[in-house]
């Protein structure tokens, strides 16, 4: 019937990514590198959800770090205090974060643009205070340590390679899920909502339901990432789930490009690796790494400004241009 323009299937990209993920521990079983890559994988999951909500449906959330926190604390508490299996804890964290997304969807039904940004920012601040003050559950400002490793079917995943494969396995499944959504009716409806809400309404799109479902799904993915993070790293504290982290998530989607999934994922990988460049480049001196870490926020800021000025469609836009360019050559 209708052929959607798609020169390069996302499934091919995900298959290549899966091969790369499997290759890393074989090529370099370096503990530090794997640890950094776990952190990258966690961020990829969060960004996949935010690319859906912000990049495609056009609903900004400056509160996604809070959802990661909800997932992390819920899972850590369920496993550590209640004694539930890790899978149940992770599911509970995902579910509670998704419920938080439902709550945050309520202002989104009335607010747009900057006002929605402010409302979600307020949500992150409230949750940050809650993480700090609910000491009985979260351990307060000192953080919560000794979180057990993920456990599946009685088998503890406690090796660096195991944790790495678990996180990236989940990340790839999430990418597959999100790519599927984006290619089907709900994905089209999201892009329609982003383009013009009134146009979407006129086409019979239930924009209220769409916003609520997208917020819940996006927040749920952030919660899942949090649950993975808590049990992979073993220690969590409120500082990880603050507003600055939410701003970084939004920056990553902007740099990656609205309306793209591959772009934000690549941006998430690049920008998360940046402060840990020494994991990739073994010869890199401590001073250079310290410099990168000191200037991390500035580099993010400059990247954002550069994208807004030079390539408003972000990395995703550059990828599309590349594709169209190649297709053009093929015709000649």
């Amino acid at each position: 019937m209708i052929r959607t323009r798609l020169a390069f299937s996302p499934y091919v990209a995900i298959a290549i990514a899966a091969a790369a993920v499997a290759a890393v521990p074989v090529l370099s079983p370096d503990r530090y590198l794997l640890k950094v890559l776990v952190y990258v994988g966690v961020n990829v999951i969060v960004i996949a959800g935010l690319a859906l909500l912000f990049g495609h449906a056009g609903q900004i959330s400056m509160g996604h770090a809070a959802f990661v926190g909800i997932g992390a604390y819920t899972s850590a508490y369920c496993v550590g205090h209640v004694g539930l299996p890790w899978l149940v804890g992770a599911l509970a964290g995902t579910a509670l974060a998704a419920a938080g997304g439902l709550v945050l969807a309520l202002p989104a039904l009335r607010l747009r643009g900057h006002y929605l940004a402010m409302a979600t920012l307020g949500f992150n601040e409230i949750m940050y205070v809650a993480f700090r003050e609910a000491r009985g559950i979260t351990g307060g400002g000192d953080g919560l340590g000794g979180i057990s490793y993920p456990e599946v079917a009685g088998l503890s995943i406690d090796s660096p390679v195991g944790v790495y494969l678990l996180v990236w396995g989940v990340a790839l499944v999430v990418l597959l899920l999100v790519a599927n959504i984006l290619r089907s009716r709900p994905g089209r409806a999201m892009r329609a909502l982003h383009a013009t809400e009134n146009g979407a309404l006129a086409c019979g799109i239930d924009t209220v339901g769409l916003k609520i479902r997208t917020f819940a799904l996006s927040a749920g993915l952030a919660g899942l990432a949090g649950a993975l993070y808590a049990h992979s790293v073993g220690f969590i504290s409120p500082g990880t789930f603050g507003l600055d982290q939410s701003v970084i998530y939004v920056a990553i989607v902007v740099v990656g490009g609205a309306g793209s999934l591959a772009g934000p994922v690549l941006a998430a990988i690049a920008l998360t690796l940046l402060p840990y460049a020494d994991a990739l480049i073994p010869g890199l001196g401590k001073d250079a790494v310290a410099l990168l870490q000191d200037w991390e926020a500035d580099i993010y800021g400059i990247a954002m400004i550069a994208v807004v000025i030079l390539a408003p469609a972000g990395i995703g836009g550059l990828l599309t241009r590349l594709r169209i360019g190649r297709a053009g050559e093929a015709h000649v």
């Binding site: 209708i2 052929r3 892009r191 383009a195 146009g199 006129a202």
Partner: protein
């Protein structure tokens, strides 16, 4: 395929500002009815209230005998009423084909009628078939209006509402769009057309209503309205119809 649209005693507005006062209007099955009137008379507000984008304060709207007053817009679209909104409201960054597909969003994915309607839309506006992969924001104004009409048709409507489809377009393009509307009407679709260009609207419609200050001031067969002294003076520039 057309259904009857009845609007009875409709009142609506924005917040505390009442715009529509007791509007009664009817489009019989397979009829093209136009609603003319000056800027700010309430024409677009009426279409929004009928399509569910605005909740009416009072009155009823029925579509083929089914009451749709105050229904959510997505349910009204499923009742086979489609709106071509003011300003077109296309999904600019998306392709022509994607816009058309989203037009069929209210129908089940496996609905065989979707493919048939796509063919029909492409027959009606061959340009849309040629430009399927083009980003819709890069179409000309006339092409965008054709896409807006095509997108509305993709929901498989029995009643089509159009809000100023001629606005800002070249006469040649306007002629093409109105020719398409004539075709749709001849195929049995019921059409309610809001227009500022009263000449144009009354040439194509079966009947017309004149709206003034949120109320219906006059109604009648299109040719009668065209000859009406009042209408001619207020909306047709005071000169007798000389075209055609």
């Amino acid at each position: 395929m057309g259904a009857e649209l009845r609007i009875d005693g409709l009142c609506a507005g924005y917040g505390r500002v009442d715009v529509l006062r007791d509007v009664t209007l009817r489009v019989d099955a397979g009829e093209m009815v136009t609603l003319i009137g000056s800027n700010g008379a309430g024409k677009s507000t009426l279409l929004k209230a009928v399509a569910g984008l605005l909740r009416p304060a009072a009155g009823t709207v029925t579509l083929g005998g089914v009451p749709i007053t105050g229904m959510a817009p997505e349910r009204i679209v499923r009742q086979r009423l489609a709106l071509v909104p003011e300003g077109r409201m296309l999904f600019g960054p998306l392709t022509v084909d994607e816009n058309l597909l989203i037009g069929a969003h209210s129908r089940p994915a496996r609905d065989a009628g979707v493919a048939a309607d796509l063919e029909r839309v492409r027959m009606l506006f061959p340009m849309l078939a040629e430009r399927g992969a083009q980003i819709s924001a890069t179409l000309s104004g006339g092409e965008q209006q054709m896409l807006a009409v095509g997108r509305a048709l993709m929901s498989g409507p029995e009643v089509l509402l159009l809000d100023e489809p001629s606005l800002g377009l070249a006469p040649r393009v306007i002629a093409a769009i109105f020719e398409a509307l004539d075709t749709l009407r001849s195929e049995g679709l019921s059409i309610l057309l809001v227009e500022q260009d009263a000449h144009l609207a009354l040439r194509h419609a079966d009947r017309g209503y004149v709206m003034r200050n949120g109320a219906i001031a006059l109604e009648g067969p299109a040719d009668k309205l065209r000859d009406d002294e009042q209408v001619r003076h207020a909306y047709l520039g005071g000169r007798p119809e000389t075209r055609e």
